[in-house]
Amino acid sequence: MEFGDIGTSNPGGRRVVVTGIGVVSNVGIGRDAFTQALRSGKCVVSDIRGFETDGYPYAHATEIHDLGTSQHDYDRLSESHGRAACLAILAARQAIADAGIDDCTEAGVVLGTTNGESQLLDHIVRTWMQQGPSHIPQADWQNAPAHRIANAVSRALGLRGESLVVATACAAGNYAIGHATDVITAGEADMMICGGVDAVNRSAYSGFFRLNAITPDVCRPFDAGRQGILTGEGAAILVLESLAHARGRGAPILAEILGYGLTCDANHMVAPHADSIARCIRLAHERSGVKPSDIDLISAHGTGTRTNDVVEVAAIRQVFGAAAPPTVSIKSMIGHTMGAASAMGAIACIIGMQNDFIPPTVNFREADSACDIDCVPNHARGASLRVVENHGFAFGGNNGVLILRNGRDIAELAA
């Protein structure tokens, strides 16, 4: 077996596999629609509806406007939950169904988020300013803390396991998937529901706008004319199981989580740091038992800001040299979904491995010598993907790199 030595860095721990995925995004609801969107390079940018936009020079985002058949469920959930919790519950239900699970009552939940119930926090502040703090309903205060999102998912699915939110900003999806993996590796659970979620909100839009980081255009990662991010939203949820548990119930094995690495820049709150990112990539490789030459694809953090893309490519070059694999940014399609972003990236990686294609970096026009990388411009590319690398970086220099392996190779190993 050519890749028989991959993933052997932790022989004592239990192996962890992905058996289900759920996604609520602005380019598609559900695995099939999201797959189709990634394959066709779908990009949807629209005027913001989620908050009052008077006074901005421009206000557009990759916001979810069409929930399709999930709209009814969403409306019912939103009577008692914030938008982030609603999106997470919808995606989690999809993931459970995708994994073909009847009973998951012992499963735990680990969700990443940047802004938590941001629209609710906005609503609280507005009510306070207009009417005073005594007019804020108790339910709003109760739902404002971030952990309520994970608790809402646990309750909605009837889960008795742990229920945690990881708030490492825009890398939170990878942190959550990594931690859920650890819980299973350590033998503390057989099944975990994990991923990330965020909702479009006025605070983040204003903050990024003030930093000149919101593009007036579309999002063009790695392009010479890139002008920044589009704030997006959504939920991306994975079902993880121990390999033994998944095999025991005959579950479809979509991918294996080989490992992950975390580093902190300890340098600057908003400026990324190439050396620290390179250290994170190397750490992820080491913990996953892979070499740079094993990596067939990088799903980049790829925000489309001037700074990120140059720094990220520099870090990739530090580790991979001239032989860097194709490096794509799905943010070109779905925008920056913040705490969901790296979970969206992980799901895109899995979909690519399952369906033998690399999702494209769309909206690409002109190469930039400062971030010279094969970003698979504009059109998906057929490819056999065995091991992939998923990046997530954040404010505060919280870096997380996740390594996944094609589930088909697990099946071969089992034979």
């Binding site: 939110v165 900003a169 580093t263």
Partner: protein, 355 residues
């Protein structure tokens, strides 16, 4: 499972900055009187009616130097200070190796003051995007942990976890796992809560008893998977999750049984118990579960009655108090909230007479 050494603890509380004033007040010294919020802390112009056990005289610049401190919120200032002082107490062989030293902070939602004031500024200014670029990073929930890394040069894993009032358990559990799986060599793990308008009005709404006062402060523990002779205690196991609806005492007892099983400890080894729950109903149910499982054991009092309700930092502060007040031997700290979360931790306090 590998026990985790608690090498030391840093505390900020209504008693002041540091472990010594906290320990003194736990042992009976007078606590500063609760104080009303000062207008300088209020952006919205609505001062809470209740006083609070907050660090009204806290001058971050005096502790950390003036440079860069003014742009940080109180959550972050306190967290940086706790981490810095804690690192300073550790022997050099433990605190070196900054690439494998990290921070895990529990929080109910970051600095609610930074978040609320920033949102307000999108409405109060001349245009919604005319906001402070310096304040924007403070609105992200990982800001305090990240600043701890920046100020102290800690390049290992840096994480922020949320479980509301039980966030202290979340930080300890997360850190414990990360150390066991060798993601880090040394972790500074704990929780900090600032006093602010947002939190105060949330507290007044959700805790109608006017005698319930908020507290400001936090506790951060230096944790390592390697045994150490100088350790002040050992963390054996942590569990945190939602109780099955309606399970109450039996759900708590079940979780505690699992906790003991995780640590390979039998009920007869448990010699003390302590709760961090602010709710009487929750604390009562925990007491019932503990009495059922262990009979009559020493109770280390909940500090919230005297020190105030520290919200997201309450569990961390209670664990710190237990490391000072508890008898030697293995004990149990529990807490539950109104939303059905329940957490519990097993720890062994090492005999030590320093404090």
């Amino acid at each position: 499972m590998t026990p985790i050494a608690i090498l030391d603890v840093g505390v900020a509380s209504a008693a002041g900055i540091g472990l010594a004033p906290f320990a003194a007040c736990l042992r009976g010294a007078a606590l500063p009187a609760p104080a009303r919020m000062e207008a300088s802390l209020s952006a919205f112009g609505h001062l809470p009616t209740r006083a609070a056990h907050w660090l009204s005289g806290f001058d971050a610049g005096a502790h950390l130097g003036r440079k860069g401190v003014a742009n940080l919120d109180r959550t972050t200032q306190l967290a940086i200070l706790l981490c810095r002082d804690l690192l300073g107490t550790l022997p050099a062989h433990l605190s070196e190796g900054r690439e494998s030293t990290g921070v895990v902070l529990g929080t109910s939602g970051g600095s609610f003051k930074s978040i609320a004031d920033f949102i307000r500024s999108t409405y109060a200014g001349p245009a919604p995007h005319m906001v402070s670029p310096m304040q924007f990073p403070n609105t992200v929930m990982n800001s305090a942990a990240a600043q701890c890394a920046i100020w102290n040069g800690l390049r290992g894993l840096n994480s922020t976890v949320c479980a509301g009032d039980l966030s202290g358990f979340a930080a300890l559990q997360y850190a414990m796992r990360m150390l066991r799986l060798d993601h880090a060599r040394l972790l500074l793990a704990g929780a900090v809560q600032e006093y602010c308008e947002f939190g105060a009005f949330a507290h007044e709404s959700l805790t109608p008893d006017p005698a319930s006062l908020q507290a400001e402060g936090g506790a951060v523990f230096a944790l390592s998977a390697a045994p150490d002779d100088g350790a002040i205690g050992t963390l054996l196991a942590v569990r945190l999750g939602l109780l099955p609806a309606g399970s109450g005492v039996s759900g708590m007892a079940d979780a505690i049984r699992r906790l003991l099983r995780d640590a390979g400890v039998v009920p007869g080894e448990i010699s003390w118990w302590s709760t961090a729950s602010k709710g009487e109903a929750q604390a009562g149910a925990e007491a019932e579960a503990v009495a059922y499982l262990f009979g009559a054991i020493v109770t280390v009092p909940c500090i919230a009655g005297r020190f105030g309700d520290a919200g997201g930092a309450s569990v961390a502060l209670q664990v710190a108090a237990c490391l000072i007040l508890a008898p030697d031997g293995i004990g149990l700290v529990t807490a539950a909230d109104a939303g059905g979360q329940f957490g519990c931790a097993l720890l062994r306090r090492r005999p030590r007479t320093v404090h």
